[in-house]
Amino acid sequence: MTLYTILFYVLAVVIVAATVLAITRRNMVHAVIYLVVSFFGSALLFYLFGAPLLAALEVIIYAGAIMVLFLFIIMMLRDVNLLEKLFPLSQWAPAAVMAVVYLVVGTVLILTDPGARAPLTGAVATPREFGRFVFENHWLAIEIVSLLLLIALVGALYLGKLSRKSAAPQSEGKP
């Protein structure tokens, strides 16, 4: 048991606990805040695994941008927190049983596989060599991803405009 091993288990417990709390909250704002904690834990895990650039990106993109976007949207919607009816127990009990079976079988498979018992030894990909690697070997994929982000931006703008135009006459008709 080295210090890194203890750190890994502590982080794993924090991540799983925060995620469980997040998916069981009724209040969506609380759920998003718990998820931010979970993503911070993931960022620390990335740092432990020798990916400092990805750790920074996880904090900036996931915990920063995406979760704040969720918070904005939740605050734009009015009183949707109140009544979310859960499915009756008889409906989701089979799904829960299958999930537990999957978890047990997967865990046994992974833990009995000799290839999975290989210890992880420390190695760090510094941002400089990681950036060189990306832009030397995957520059085309980076360009395609930038195009994808542009298309997502245009699509989100178009959807926003479209829904405002179609919703305007309805909202006028309401008292």
Binding site: V16, I23, I110, D113, L159
Partner: protein
Amino acid sequence: MIVSFGHVLVLSGLLFLLGTVCAVARRNLIMILLGVEIMLNAATIAFVGAALRWHDMEGQVFVLFIFAVAAAEVSVGLALIIGMYRRTGSIDPNNFNLLK
């Protein structure tokens, strides 16, 4: 040595399962989208662990692309949710039954 590779896979699988439960069991479009985010995050943990296991940076490059796809997916998804909320006044997927 940090930890054996199997434990990283178990953690990632557990997180993926939690995300699936959130996406399937909740009746709230925003929580469903959050479940998808949890699943993507679980996949990134598996990729970074594998990158360290084989000392190969390809896994980390893939995580970069997963980040970009997650950002694109969440922006378009939230725009769709806002559109449906303006149209029906609700974010319960059971109320979206215009085609019935």
